[in-house]
């Protein structure tokens, strides 16, 4: 009896109505945020958080669940951004359709990149993705049709949902990015419970064992990359329409691939909430240090990156499972305290703390 009490976690202690209430509060906060915080900076901050949480969540499907560390996801981001922008400039195609075409092209890229590289393991794979990303960057930089090193301006159109451009307000961008995050998170949630999700984790844990169990590991790695790349490409189109200017240094750099991966790693790879948690911490940190510590950067403007770098090192040394790991550690500490309280209550013969299994 007492052991059973101690084993229960905090989330299980919340009653069903408590969970519903929590969900409603969260939804109300997310939906109401742009009306409470009307300034451009808090809205911009939240849009970036959503975008990077979505990108990291997409990366997480391949890197976290399937265990294939990609440091070249900027390729898919770039495909999304460039496809919609080029189609809009040269053929006046709506960015929404451009987004669809971008996703299709990213699927083609998935096959081209994934087919050969998935034969590699560990560091060989990671460095191969760096190589692919850098090759893409060099090619686009030297491709005049795509604007070369100068980049492309998204043509200014009358604002509206149809044109995917909003000049006077950031609020629609806020909801679109929230929707993107929601879509990729829901997909991950379903994947976690699906056969594919179990296959992904089996491949991550031990590729040889997975293969010997009859899992077509090559095909499932490609599937993970396809889902991951498709959402990343959607993020790319969103970025292009939000910033209205793209160039190889902003949508294809190695640093972007690394930051996408980093957000997921900081939060906790292979978990549903990890990438979101990572973005919630990392993006305000990088934006905040850039804004508030800018005064300290006399010579350059790299002070934010100093903090960033130090934080990455500390995190990987002391909490390699990410913020989720840290959270779980706190939770466990709290749990012990709760179960002690329960134990005392049970001894006094009065069940003051009631959980779903205590009847």
């Amino acid at each position: 009896m007492t052991q059973e009490l101690a084993r229960r976690s905090i989330s299980e202690n919340l009653s069903r109505w408590g969970k519903v209430l929590l969900g409603v509060i969260l939804a109300a906060f997310l939906l109401g945020y742009p009306f409470v915080f009307t300034g451009p900076f808090p809205q911009h901050l939240m849009i970036r958080i959503f975008l990077f949480a979505a990108l990291a969540q997409a990366w997480n499907i391949l890197g976290g669940y399937c265990g294939q560390i990609s440091l070249g996801h900027a390729v898919f981001f770039g495909i999304g951004a460039y496809t919609s922008t080029i189609l809009l400039i040269y053929w006046h195609l709506s960015p929404w359709l451009g987004m669809v075409v971008g996703v299709l092209l990213s699927l083609v890229a998935t096959l081209l990149i994934g087919y050969p590289t998935f034969r590699l393991a560990g560091h060989y794979f990671a460095i191969a993705t760096i190589a692919v990303g850098e090759i893409a960057r060099v090619l686009v930089t030297n491709w005049p049709f795509a604007g070369g090193a100068v980049g492309l301006y998204v043509p200014l159109l009358p604002e509206g949902l149809r044109t995917f451009e909003f000049h006077t307000t950031k609020v629609p961008y806020y909801y679109i990015s929230l929707l993107l995050l929601l879509a990729v998170t829901t997909t991950t949630w379903f994947l976690e419970r699906s056969r594919a999700g179990y296959y992904f984790r089996a491949i991550k844990a031990d590729p040889d064992a997975a293969r010997s169990l009859g899992i077509p590991i090559h095909r499932y790695k490609l599937l993970a990359l396809a889902i991951s790349g498709a959402f990343t490409a959607m993020g790319g189109t969103f970025y292009a329409q939000y910033v209205l200017y793209i160039d190889p240094e902003s949508v294809l750099p190695l640093m972007l691939s690394v930051i996408i991966c980093l957000v997921a790693v900081l939060g906790g790879v292979g978990t549903l909430w990890g990438p979101i948690l990572g973005a919630l911490v990392l993006i305000p940190l990088s934006e905040g240090t850039r804004v508030y510590l800018a005064g300290m950067g006399g010579a350059g403007r790299a002070f934010d990156l100093i903090v960033y770098g130090a934080l990455i090192v500390l995190m990987s040394v002391f909490e390699p499972t990410g913020l989720i790991g840290l959270w779980r550690r706190i939770q466990r500490a709290l749990e012990v305290r709760v179960s002690y309280a329960r134990l005392a209550a049970a001894r006094r013969g009065e069940q003051t703390v009631r959980g779903p299994g205590s009847q």
Binding site: I69, I127, G309
Partner: protein
């Protein structure tokens, strides 16, 4: 003639790449960790040589021993402070521990020394000489000669001395080496020290003719990763041959196709090698 000139330039450049890659390869061979801060340590060595030359008038050639030792100590410190703690951590944590260190060092350099491009004013070695109708820059020649000497010393150390053999033994089988009384932690620390000392030598030699700025190490490090994979992870002779091949590929593709594409071909070489011969030229996979 211009082709021959490029071949010479490519080999000279490749020898420096080889030395940087050797340090990376040594570390990887020992503990299967890729040092993603390799380029930033190179940058530190270049700035070190630069500041000693500017502030105290010490020529890079004379500050070379000092920076080799400093980088060696930095390597040992990096091992004990960071790497030793992530040895058993997941691969991602290992990647980001060194990667974060790289970001930290690079932005520190940018913070204190600004993103300006700098050159060591009037170094001792400068100008160029003509050999059989080919022009060879003296700083480049000195750098590649220095790289060859350092490489030879490294090779002799690893194969001919007791400590070097212990290093090799640890690299081959950590547990077995521990059984015969080799402290693997000390060997790892030594490996980091030597690995970064290689980078220190390369950085100081490069500072004689290369622009110095906070991001200077990045392309060198990328090339070193390619060289290490090409030569085979952990193989020091492999890194040597691969460095020269990459130097040649870079210079020749720059000449024949266009300078904008030179790194593209370096990365293509990497992909072709890992797809067709994943263990690299001399690797044991």
């Amino acid at each position: 003639m211009i082709l021959l000139q490029s071949v010479v330039n490519g080999v000279l450049l490749g020898l420096v790449y080889a030395l940087i890659a050797a340090g990376l390869s040594l570390i990887f061979g020992l503990m299967e960790i890729v040092n993603f801060a390799h380029g930033q340590f190179l940058m530190l060595a270049m700035y070190g040589a630069y500041w000693l030359a500017v502030l105290y008038g010490v020529d890079p050639l004379f500050s070379l021993p000092l920076w080799t030792i400093v980088l060696f100590l930095l390597g040992v410190a990096t091992y004990w402070l960071i790497i030793a703690r992530v040895l058993r951590a997941p691969m991602l944590a290992q990647i980001f521990s060194t990667f974060g260190l790289g970001v930290f060092l690079q932005s520190l350099a940018q913070f204190f020394w600004s993103p300006d491009f700098r050159l060591v004013p009037s170094p001792l070695v400068k100008g160029r000489i003509e050999i059989l109708g080919l022009f060879v820059g003296i700083p480049e020649l000195v750098a590649s000669l220095g790289a060859v000497i350092a490489f030879a010393l490294l090779y002799l150390f690893v194969t001919r001395t007791e400590t070097g053999r212990a290093l090799q033994a640890t690299s081959e089988d950590r547990e077995a080496a521990a059984l015969v009384g080799i402290d693997s932690h000390r060997m790892f620390a030594l490996g980091w020290g030597i690995g970064l000392a290689c980078v220190g030598i390369a950085g100081v030699l490069l500072s004689n003719f290369y622009y110095i700025f906070p991001e200077v190490g990045f392309p060198f490090a990328l090339i070193a990763y390619v060289a290490v994979a090409l030569g085979g992870f952990g193989s020091i002779p492999g890194a040597f041959v691969a460095g020269i091949i990459i130097g040649l590929v870079e210079v020749l593709s720059g000449l024949l196709i266009g300078p904008a594409y030179k790194y593209l071909f370096v990365f293509l070489v990497y992909l072709i090698v890992v797809f067709t011969r994943p263990q690299g030229l001399f690797g044991r996979y």
